[in-house]
């Protein structure tokens, strides 16, 4: 699942804004497959971590009630233009991915 994270980050008067969309089905485990009538197994992101210079700025715990292709926006101080942010997620099936974005 390469490139599942689509981030964008920019700094404005000392505050960095990070927006990201992660491609993920976020299945709750309650939905039924219309063709077979069987339940679609749960599959959702449990954790998203954003790091700036190896310091965690956001540690998000998500549940199945977060919408498909989760969108998260956060803001933090102390970063400068050109700095890299590292984003990583793990899901309920043990899947994971990482991404990086440079602050503009």
């Amino acid at each position: 699942m390469a490139n599942s994270i689509r981030p964008r980050a920019w700094v404005d008067s000392g505050v960095t804004t990070l927006k990201m969309i992660i491609s993920h089905p976020m299945e709750t485990g309650l939905r039924k497959d219309k063709a077979t009538g069987k339940k679609i197994p749960a599959h959702y992101i449990e954790s998203v971590i954003v790091k700036h210079n190896d310091k965690v700025v956001l540690d998000a715990l998500l549940g199945p009630a977060v919408s498909k292709n989760p969108f998260i926006q956060c803001k933090f101080k102390g970063a400068a233009k050109g700095d890299a942010l590292k984003i990583s997620w793990t899901d309920s099936k043990g899947g994971s991915d990482t991404g990086e974005v440079k602050i503009s």
């Binding site: 998500l62 009630a65 977060v66 998260i72």
Partner: protein, 154 residues
């Protein structure tokens, strides 16, 4: 015969005991990684208690929730939470009428601005509740989101 039943009984009891011990241990192991119990428990108060260890929350006017008054599509509801409270260590978003109210919880660092925007699923017309942990205390605010079904737009 009596002895057998006794043996059988004690055996089942010990098996149950082991199972209970395992059951007690398992959630703790899960908690270290991802608080599964908090995400599956029913009721806002229970969810907050499981997640935070306490559910004594004060209503706060310092928490602002931006959410649509009417959501046409309950599967994607934009929620933004911001607060003027100081020393915010976490922001959690709960939907009261969802089977499991807790949708997400964001742990913030000292440099993170107490602002979170995300998209959640809202099963039916419900109050969206933001719980903010500030200086070790819990504060909450709520906002009603109407979910229309059928796509008439309300």
């Amino acid at each position: 015969m009596k002895r057998r039943t006794l043996l059988k009984g004690s055996l089942t009891a010990s098996v149950a005991g082991v199972a209970a011990a395992a059951g007690l241990l398992a959630p703790q192991m899960v908690l270290a990684a991802w608080p599964k119990a908090a995400f599956t428990v029913k009721g806002v108060d229970n969810a907050v208690k499981t997640l935070m260890g306490s559910n004594s929350m004060a209503d706060s006017g310092a928490i602002k929730i931006k959410a649509p008054a009417i959501a046409e599509n309950g599967a994607v509801v934009n929620i933004a939470v911001t607060t003027s409270l100081k020393n915010v260590s976490s922001i959690s978003i709960l939907v009261e009428k969802n089977a499991s109210p807790l949708t997400s919880s964001f742990n913030l660092s000292a440099v993170t601005v107490p602002f979170i925007k995300t998209r959640v699923k809202v099963a039916k017309t419900s109050s969206v509740i933001a719980v903010v942990k500030s200086g070790g205390k819990l504060f909450k605010a709520g906002r009603e989101v109407k979910v229309t079904i059928g796509g008439c737009g309300g």
